[in-house]
């Protein structure tokens, strides 16, 4: 089954491209200290140096900081926020979706309303509000984004659990007297992994975008070299120094595109019926 899945995945060009982009970004994040020519926070006298300035291949910002180093180091912040927030969202989504789908009835009705509530509130506005009120910081960002992103995973997991809770093998487990927790985690959940992985991948992309957007509005972690903060900084100098915004913007686009393509590729491989 795994081999068949891999075969289908590697047949899709977009999915493989996504995987390559994601691998590239992860590689950069790991190797940032080695790859970056200087410290991203160190200022210099070369302010707003255009790309190609000797020693600064992508130019410098208004305080003379190296853009290339900023972009390379920024991948760490983006990935950390993206992956951790997605993990939080998926964990919450599984817990809520599984409970809702497995038990049904009034529990499902209640959790369904809560899910809908979280879906209709504008995520970005709420994130802005929370960060503005409680201040920013890497883990606060992770938590805020994670808590605002779980409904999609919850809906998918709920649907799968509703379909599988009546499966004969689940009945068989009940007849054996297995506890609900055991049935949920060991009998049903493994069968739900594929769609959850897809959602997780898309969630990472969305979280990275959200983090960058918050950073753009100056609500990111001020102590962190992040792409969003770089964009925020570039706003005031857009006319004089385009490179300050273009390169971090490009980095965000490539990362988000990578995770989205990966998610689509995994989804197509997990649901071969959509081929036809």
């Amino acid at each position: 089954m795994g081999r068949e899945f891999a075969r289908r995945f590697f047949r899709s060009r977009a999915g493989v491209l996504g995987l390559c982009l994601v691998a590239l970004v992860i590689g950069v994040a790991i190797a940032a200290p080695a790859l970056a020519p200087r410290d991203p926070h160190t200022t210099s006298l070369v302010t707003k140096g255009p790309p190609g300035t000797p020693g600064y291949p992508l130019g410098t910002d208004d305080l003379g900081r190296d853009i290339l180093s900023g972009v390379l180091w920024g991948s760490r912040a983006s990935l950390t926020v993206g992956v951790c927030a997605a993990a939080t969202a998926v964990t919450l989504g599984i817990a809520i979706g599984a409970t809702s789908g497995y038990y049904g009835g009034w529990i499902d009705a209640l959790l369904g309303r809560v899910t809908e509530l979280f879906q209709v509130i504008p995520r970005f506005v709420l994130a802005l509000l929370v960060v503005a009120l409680f201040g920013s910081g890497l883990w606060k960002l992770v938590l805020v984004i994670g808590i605002l992103s779980w409904p999609q995973a919850a809906r998918v997991v709920r649907g799968q659990f509703m379909a599988l809770r009546g499966a004969a093998y689940v009945d068989a487990a009940r007849v054996l007297g297995l506890r609900d927790a055991r049935i949920i985690f060991s009998e049903i959940l493994p069968n739900v992994v594929a769609p959850v992985v897809v959602i997780a991948s898309l969630d990472v992309a969305a979280a990275i975008l959200l983090e960058a957007s918050l950073g753009f509005f100056g609500l990111g972690d001020p102590n962190l070299a992040s792409w969003g903060m770089m964009l925020n900084n570039a706003q005031a100098h857009f006319r004089q120094a385009w490179w300050m915004s273009v390169f971090p913007g490009l980095a965000i686009s490539i990362t988000v595109l990578g995770f989205n393509l990966l998610g689509d590729g995994l989804n197509d491989a997990a649901n071969p019926r959509l081929d036809a």
Partner: protein, 340 residues
């Protein structure tokens, strides 16, 4: 009696609206079933008869709306997770003592688990130490005729044939050393030659383990060969019950007579001699069953009283029971010479 369902009823909500449930599906209406130690009791009926619901209630998958389930004479019915009313020991005995085999061999095995893992879960449920489980799983597989055991333990369900999967299901049911196995159409989805293999296996296991079967089936020919007793269901009620030879030779309820008459006989010499009773129409909806006797709209011998009054339970001296105002009036077709 090892397993009993007394006056079991089950209603499912049918269509909900803002003001509440619109109607109820009356899947089961006061059915009483008793399975004795080591016997095979067949539960026969058409779709909508409630036979599967009865099986699921007795297996503890569904909770009855009314009535109770007794295992070895002790009350066990209640919601799945709820605390038992009569001590933990009895509940655990019941859980392990009553197992089930389902119709769809594929759907009843977790697609992500190997045969070995599936049996391991069952053996663990029984409380067996991890060290002993592998050997026990191998023994179970050998018992259901899946050899070489080593290769089959590592297989996933999709790597097995339908017959092999059903053997695994039987092995899983057997793993807790149950006193009763509820088998819901265990061979209906299988091909003829494989069907016989599974039936032979089940018969052998019954002798070796003295396990009782509640054999749920729509196939009267199979029932005739495997069951000692038969209960016939129609629209949620047991309309006839008795020893297999009694019910097949002298059916009392007109519905049983019609069912037998509708079942094809694979012998062309005999098949042509039969006069068939063809029931008109369909089984009525269990949402709004007919008043009086539920069978009267299709019954060939129905009279005015049948639409008005619920029929009494008639019991012969030999223990055969029928729920009919005119039990025994409809004679079986012109088959069966020399069957006394």
């Amino acid at each position: 009696m090892i397993l009993e369902g007394i006056g079991l009823s089950k209603r499912f909500p049918w269509g909900r609206s803002l003001t509440g449930v619109r109607a109820w599906v009356r899947a089961l209406e006061g059915a009483t079933l008793q399975v004795a130690e080591g016997e095979t009791l067949a539960l026969v009926g058409e779709s909508g008869s409630g036979k599967t619901t009865a099986g699921r209630i007795l297996a503890g998958i569904e909770v009855p709306t009314a009535g109770q389930v007794l295992f070895r004479g002790r009350h066990v019915a209640g919601s799945m997770g709820a605390a038992p009313r009569t001590g933990g020991a009895s509940r655990r005995d019941y859980r392990l003592g009553v197992q089930m085999v389902f119709q769809e061999s594929q759907a009843s095995l977790n697609p992500r688990k190997t045969v070995g893992q599936t049996l391991d879960v069952a053996l663990a449920a029984r409380g067996m130490a991890p060290a002993r489980r592998r050997e026990a799983a191998a023994r179970l597989l050998a018992e259901v005729g899946m050899e070489p055991v080593g290769t089959f333990l590592a297989r996933f369900p999709h790597q097995l044939s339908g017959g092999q999967r059903q053997r695994v299901n039987v092995a899983r049911a057997l793993s807790t050393e149950p006193a009763v196995i509820i088998a819901d159409e265990p061979v209906s989805a299988l091909d003829l030659s494989v069907r016989a293999q599974i039936l032979v296996l089940m018969e052998r296991l019954q002798k070796q383990h003295r396990v009782a079967y509640l054999f749920i089936s729509h196939d009267l020919a199979v029932v005739r060969s495997v069951a000692q007793r038969v209960a016939v269901m129609y629209l949620g009620r047991i309309v006839e019950e008795g020893r297999t030879e009694q019910v097949f030779a002298t059916p009392l309820h007109p519905y049983t007579v019609a069912l037998l008459s509708a079942t094809p006989i694979p012998d062309p010499r005999r098949a042509r001699l039969r006069s068939r009773i063809i029931l008109p129409g369909d089984v009525p909806s269990p949402v709004s069953p007919p008043p009086g006797c539920p069978f009267h709209p299709r019954c060939p011998v129905a009279a005015e009283i049948c639409g008005r009054e619920f029929p009494p339970l008639l019991e012969t001296g030999e223990g055969q029971k029928a729920l009919c105002h005119f039990a025994g009036t409809l004679a079986p077709g012109a088959s069966a010479p020399g069957r006394g």
